[in-house]
């Protein structure tokens, strides 16, 4: 956390943001004594670009968003669902109104629908060995085009650099200003900085409240096996 705070302080100073912003943990920044959820996934560049593609006229007539995510064994499925529900709403710029969940121990499948009928499917599993990089895929299908963060005819994302030597290594660097941080770490710093710079505390708090409501509906649906409607 110290490394991330240093990078956050660097950005605050460089861009003259006159606010005291302190990372409490990877999900929360404290600004002027108030704890704000940062929803750091929103700051991943791939999701920003998917949001742009969906909403700037590149895709026309959105029908479905498909999400699959595999996380480490033992991780909280509802925490993963919270992130993916937010990404669906963020990328589509739509509100989810209904949710149906099937859960089975370390796996969960969800169908959610937006107010205008777009269908979101979210497949989550917690099966990876400790330390294994999370696998995910986000795909939006429309009348005119498909947008996705995984290349066509591939199951996994690529890395930027592969090293084949005495020890095989791979690297993916996506932010020159924050060079040296992982994608997840970059997103945390960028998200905290964005809240401080753009005064989006109220927006973040409101989004978190809605997501908590959706997670409550999801848990209820997982028990009943029936759809829950907002």
């Amino acid at each position: 956390m110290k490394k991330l705070q240093e990078k956050l302080d660097f950005l605050l100073e460089k861009y003259s943001v006159d606010k005291k912003a302190v990372l409490k943990d990877v999900k929360t920044v404290v600004i002027d004594g108030k704890e704000i959820p940062i929803l750091s996934h929103r700051s991943e560049r791939r999701f920003v670009e998917l949001k742009n593609i969906v909403n700037n006229g590149t895709l026309v007539g959105v029908s479905v968003m498909r999400v699959a995510r595999i996380v480490e064994s033992g991780k909280d499925l509802y925490e993963a669902l919270y992130r993916e529900l937010d990404l669906c709403q963020f990328i589509l710029q739509r509100k989810i109104k209904s949710i149906t969940v099937m859960e089975n121990g370390n796996v969960m499948n969800t169908i959610a629908t937006t107010e205008d009928g777009v269908v979101c499917t979210i497949e989550i599993s917690a099966t990876l060995a400790k330390g294994e990089i999370e696998k995910d895929k986000h795909e939006i299908i429309s009348q005119r085009g498909i947008a996705c963060d995984v290349v066509v005819d591939a199951q996994l994302k690529q890395d930027s650099i592969y090293v084949f030597g005495s020890e095989n290594k791979k690297y993916t660097d996506v932010d020159f200003e924050l060079y040296g941080l992982s994608i997840d770490e970059i997103a945390i710093v960028r998200a905290a900085f964005s809240v401080a710079q753009n005064n989006t505390s109220d927006e973040m708090l409101s989004a978190d409240k809605t997501l908590c409501t959706l997670i409550g509906m999801a848990k209820k649906s997982a028990l009943s096996g029936e759809r829950e409607v907002m």
Partner: protein, 358 residues
């Protein structure tokens, strides 16, 4: 072994052309004749295959060739029962397309016909003869990921309705015109009816049957179709395994009358990907890869060119073996009935907005 004297009927099904090569090259077969349902498919057949007698009517073909032992019913779903009766009356074995019928009374009549006439009726679910599926089955059997906890699969393609128009007609695809749900102008008979494979495969992989199904239909990406083209399905098997199935027509196509180069708008025309999550890990499988890629003629678009597509070789080998050695097909009418019931449950869930218990 004496070659099996085989014929084909109708030639209107999208899989028709898959049989051309295997029926000509498999030494266990003697391809006797075909009958075509209309002039369009007759021309396509005559342009594609030489040396096989082609008849305008099924009866004419059957009367001219009493030696026919088996028929591939390469026809629209609404013709299957009638053609099965023609075959059963003559003691001819049947290779049915992937959906015999969605009408469960018709389905029971088919089972009775086959049983009473001691026929082999094999359902064409070719994924069982795919090498990736063979490896997946082996991994599951060996306990690589422990007990399966979830089965998530896509069976997504472009829409075939422009080349095979019957698939866009609810009465021919689903068997009758049934509204998909109240207040919706679409009818049953679209993408779901084209994609039974993953509903079948989960039963094989888990050794269990469907317990509950929930489904949503999404806005069509082809608004001018009167059937559904995008839908999502989740649910639970009786052994607790949960699933997520995507049987959509989610890959956009050029509206050409005969499949061929340039059919794709999206670079990849078809995908069957299966992710099995288990107690001890995950297996991710792409059943049709790796491939090669080009952006050449006719449209200069980046396109996935598949490198193998030979499921029909194993399928036909099994069919011949079943007939010659009096065996029951892996995918027979009785086994397949529960798959069709599950697909009907998808439509019921869409119509009611409820989870359907089977």
């Amino acid at each position: 072994m004496k070659p099996l004297k085989i014929a084909m009927m109708s030639m209107t099904h999208g899989h028709t052309r898959k049989y051309y090569q295997v029926l000509k090259e498999n030494p266990k077969l003697d391809w006797v004749a075909v009958s075509t349902a209309n002039d369009d498919v007759k021309k396509i057949f005559l342009d594609s295959v030489e040396g096989i007698p082609c008849y305008d009517s099924e009866l004419e073909m059957l009367d001219a060739h009493p030696e026919i032992e088996a028929v591939v019913l390469a026809s629209e779903n609404s013709d299957h029962l009638r053609q099965m009766k023609l075959c059963a009356e003559r003691g001819i074995h049947i290779l049915s397309m992937k959906v015999p019928t969605f009408d469960m009374d018709e389905y029971d009549e088919m089972i009775k016909l086959v049983d009473e006439n001691n026929l082999v009726c094999q359902i064409e679910l070719e994924m069982h003869y795919n090498p990736v599926i063979a490896r997946l089955k082996e991994l599951v059997k060996n306990g690589e990921i422990g007990k399966i906890k979830s089965f998530n699969a896509t069976n997504i393609t472009l829409s075939p309705v422009w080349a095979f128009p019957w698939q866009g007609v609810p009465e021919k695809s689903y068997g009758k015109r049934v509204s998909i749900k109240d207040g919706d102008s679409r009818f049953r008979g679209g993408a779901l009816c084209d994609h039974p494979h993953i509903f079948d495969m989960i039963r094989h992989m888990t050794g269990s049957d469907f317990e509950s199904i929930y489904a949503e239909v999404a806005p069509n990406i082809r608004p001018d179709l009167e059937e559904e083209d995008m839908l999502s399905v989740i649910g639970r098997m009786k052994d607790g395994t949960i699933f997520s199935l995507d049987p959509s027509w989610s890959k956009m196509e050029e509206r050409i009358p005969v499949p061929g180069p340039g059919w794709e708008v999206f670079p990849k025309r078809m995908e069957v990907n299966i992710t099995l999550n288990g107690e001890k890990g995950t297996v991710m499988a792409d059943c049709f890869g790796p491939n090669v890629y080009h952006n050449g003629c006719p449209n200069d678009r980046y396109t996935v060119q598949y490198t193998y597509f030979d499921e029909w070789v194993g399928l036909i080998d099994e069919f011949v073996d079943n007939i010659r050695n009096n065996k029951t097909p892996l995918i027979n009418l009785k086994w397949h009935k529960k798959t069709i019931e599950a697909m009907n449950a998808v439509y019921e869930s869409i119509a009611t907005g409820k989870t359907v218990k089977l």
